[in-house]
Amino acid sequence: MSAKDNFSKVKHLYNRAGFGISYPELNKLSKKNISKVVDGLLEEPKKDYAITLVNDTESRRQMLVQSGLYAKKDLTDDEKKMRREIVQMQNKVSRDLNIAWVSKMINTESPLREKMTLFWHGHFACRNNNPMYAQQLNNIQRQHGLGSFRTLLVEVSKSPAMLQYLNNQQNKKGKPNENFARELMELFTLGRGNYTENDIKESARSFTGWSYDKDGAFIFRKTQHDDGTKTFFGKIGNFEGENIIDIILEKPETATFISKKVYKFFVNDNPNDAHIKELADHFYNSKYNISELMRKLFTSEWFYNPENVGTKIKSPAEFLIGLSREFFVTYNKPQVLIQLQSSLGQYLFNPPNVAGWPGGQNWIDSSSLMLRMRIPSLVLNDGEIDFSGKADPEDEAVIALSRIATTNANSNNKPKSYVNAQADWPKFLDTLPKGLSPLALTEFLLQPKLNDKITKMVSDNKGLRSTAVEITSMPEYQLC
């Protein structure tokens, strides 16, 4: 195999398994065998990698005050104010958590681990107003994202964020709430058509009593648990939640469902059944070891086939993080990252529903594409946005309150917002080999194969910097 081939392969691998790659690293890794490079990606980082932005002690204190205030009937004005302030604080910390994760993805030395976290974030999609719970779930998805799928599934199912989001707190003996049981099978494991309504009913009974305490720790409430006999997929027993999960994992349909979702996220929007079967068999036989699944995928020859290279539409997260990583961007007002995510249709920690973001061509409409094509010049050249975006429905209460303050303010007079970001151009240019031509830079920055038009467009270019801004503003840069 030629060195150039390996260069392209590693570049493709890092675009899909991570958020792109710098020129020197690409150069270095291209000298290695692909399977060694994959090993490197799968290696555990030595450092602690959890997000620790949200202070658990402080959050618990607030939650305690909050639940006290909610239980009280007539609140004094001070108490009402306090309750409002706690909610405002939580909203602020939630936004900070979002930014902390985005920054982590931009700066990480474990790109595959963060990419897997992003994958599971969409797979086990969840919204929670409590930033401590949201951080906890995110850390579970990171910690177990490359480990055992069973452990991941159990941990996610026991997390306060998910228990609350899918109403398992209300799932009690005699009064089952089927929300969690339904999504567990429909969206998290088996997929539609692989279970019956009766399986949902019986498994919901098995999850009764799965709950969390006031400190946000999982607790099995025996008194709320239905310990009668259940029939689940033809098996009869006094099942509890983990038994249900084990029975679900015994079914190869679960391996197929997860492999297909992984394939669509990492390889191609259009599933290839033969390739998915290879992955699913391997995943099932490895007892649901996620690292094994990913190793199989990244070392498969078909992963590097032309139809799978430079043909996927980047998600907004992949687009923003890849751009920021490539050019060492500093955001002086990191809030803008939230505005950009929201305008592009992927506000992390806020999926549209439990099914996650639909992805693929769903990311693109005329306004989101126009914005995507403008963002590189805004971020890299510190331009201006004349784009205010839409309010998130969950922010409506905040808007309702701030409206009072600004009733008379004319919305047309609001100042233009600047992205207020800086690319570290000297650092970026320094990563490039001496004498690199604009055309070679283009080839490096774009994943789709270059065509005559682009070749012609950049061939007269003088500077690398202006070339980089142009290239990243092209529709081709939207693909990876």
Binding site: L187, I364, D392, A397, R403
Partner: protein, 399 residues
């Protein structure tokens, strides 16, 4: 920085002829005169969950006053519509509209197993799904997909906003979002943008790249069409000063200049009134009513009111009983408003909410929101609602 340019220091000059393969033919080249009678739909979204009971006030019902000791609207303040229901006094501007027979109020619209999350319930209203079903396309988007007579144009559905709502996204076709037609026109005529579309034929077999280019070409064509059609029109009408009124003014300009768009989408947010509801909701209802009144009169004076149907919804109503903060919490069924010059049933469409028959403190719905959508799809947009809503819904007689 010159915002008209995508890039600073761009060195490109647009030159040469535009080569596009047949399937991406610019829209300007298509015949546009196929339609004679043009019917428009305007969807108005009130985000945050508008409190329907303080909007259309059941002043004739004692239970309302018992449950809302601090925030009920007093009988002497309301705008009476009949012996039971009335409008919030902040909706004065709509009284004339109501009296003209241009407004219908549909009470108690909802769906089975309602969801109280803003996000999820909005999702359900925008996609037209069941409450346990997740759809990635919106109801108007699927209308665009349905190959209706006009649906081949991306400007068939326009949202006057920066970003496109899920309601407007179909599987293969999507509406277009724009706040300012001139700005979009400038952006799509930027030399860099245009240069990207030149001599572009090599990679069109590739699905996703082809899709990106197709979207760019459609955006450019739509922007030119919208700008060139609407720029000549000068509105004489006076609108109140508000963001919401500006959206409606833009819609009116598009309708009155004869744009071949069938669906417009606008929204007003801030209705999540958990705390001190009276002033907050009052301000918003005033903005809404004054904007709508100016808009409808503007359409009337341009002879477009008969061809326009406006429908207003919110993702849920609020609980019947007020909370301890002089506000209301998330509830279920809610009223919808329909406006137009050719309403079949004017005024109040169905019985007022029954406040003595509640579902754990919440209103029970009388009509599924998809019956309202279904009626609009069948009778106004001329498609079979079962094709769009995945099952057939009985239609109503408001149009």
């Amino acid at each position: 920085m010159n915002r008209r340019n995508f890039l600073r220091n761009t060195g490109f000059v647009a030159a040469g002829s535009l080569f596009v393969p047949a399937f991406m033919k610019p829209l300007e080249a298509m015949a546009l005169d196929e339609l004679s009678l043009y019917k428009n739909l305007v969807v108005v979204q009130l985000s945050g969950g508008n409190d329907g009971l303080n909007t259309v006030v059941p002043f004739g019902n004692d239970i309302y006053y018992q449950k809302r000791k601090n925030i009920a609207i007093k009988p002497e303040e309301v705008i009476k519509l009949n012996d039971m229901q009335s409008l919030n006094p902040n909706m004065q501007a709509l009284q004339e509209i109501y009296d003209q027979g241009w407004m219908t109020i549909i009470n108690d619209v909802g769906y089975p197993n309602p969801d109280r999350s803003h996000f999820r319930s909005m999702d359900i209203w925008q996609t037209g799904s069941d409450s346990n079903q997740f759809l990635s396309t919106g109801w108007i988007g699927r209308y665009l997909d349905s190959n209706c007579q006009t649906c081949k144009f991306p400007y068939t559905a326009i949202e006057v906003d920066d970003s496109l709502s899920l309601a407007m996204k179909g599987q293969t076709k999507k509406g277009i979002a724009l706040k300012d037609p001139a700005a979009l026109f400038r952006n799509t005529n930027d030399p860099f943008f245009k240069s990207m579309l030149q001599n572009d034929k090599e990679h069109l077999d590739e699905d996703n790249l082809g899709y990106l280019y197709k979207t760019m070409i459609e955006t450019q064509s739509s922007a030119s069409y919208i700008q060139n059609t609407s720029k000549i029109y000068k509105s004489q009408a006076v609108y109140p000063q508000s963001g919401f009124s500006n959206q409606l003014k833009t819609v009116s300009k598009f309708i009155s200049s004869g744009l071949k768009t069938r669906v417009y989408y606008v929204s007003l947010s801030g209705f999540d009134t958990h705390v001190n509801q009276l002033n907050q909701q009052g301000n918003l209802l005033k903005q809404y009513s004054e904007g709508m009144s100016a808009f409808l009169k503007d359409l009337k004076s341009n002879n477009k009111l008969d061809d326009t149907l406006v429908v207003t919804f919110s993702e849920f109503g609020r609980r019947v009983e007020q909370n301890a903060s002089n506000g209301t919490d998330h509830g279920t069924a809610n009223n919808m408003f329909v406006f137009g010059g050719r309403l079949k049933k004017q005024g109040i469409f169905n019985a007022a909410p029954n406040l003595s028959d509640l579902d754990t403190g919440d209103l029970k719905y009388q009509l599924d929101f998809r019956q309202v959508y279904g009626t609009i799809l069948d009778k106004w947009l001329d498609v079979n609602n079962a094709d769009i809503l995945n099952k057939k819904f009985n239609t109503l007689d408001f149009i």
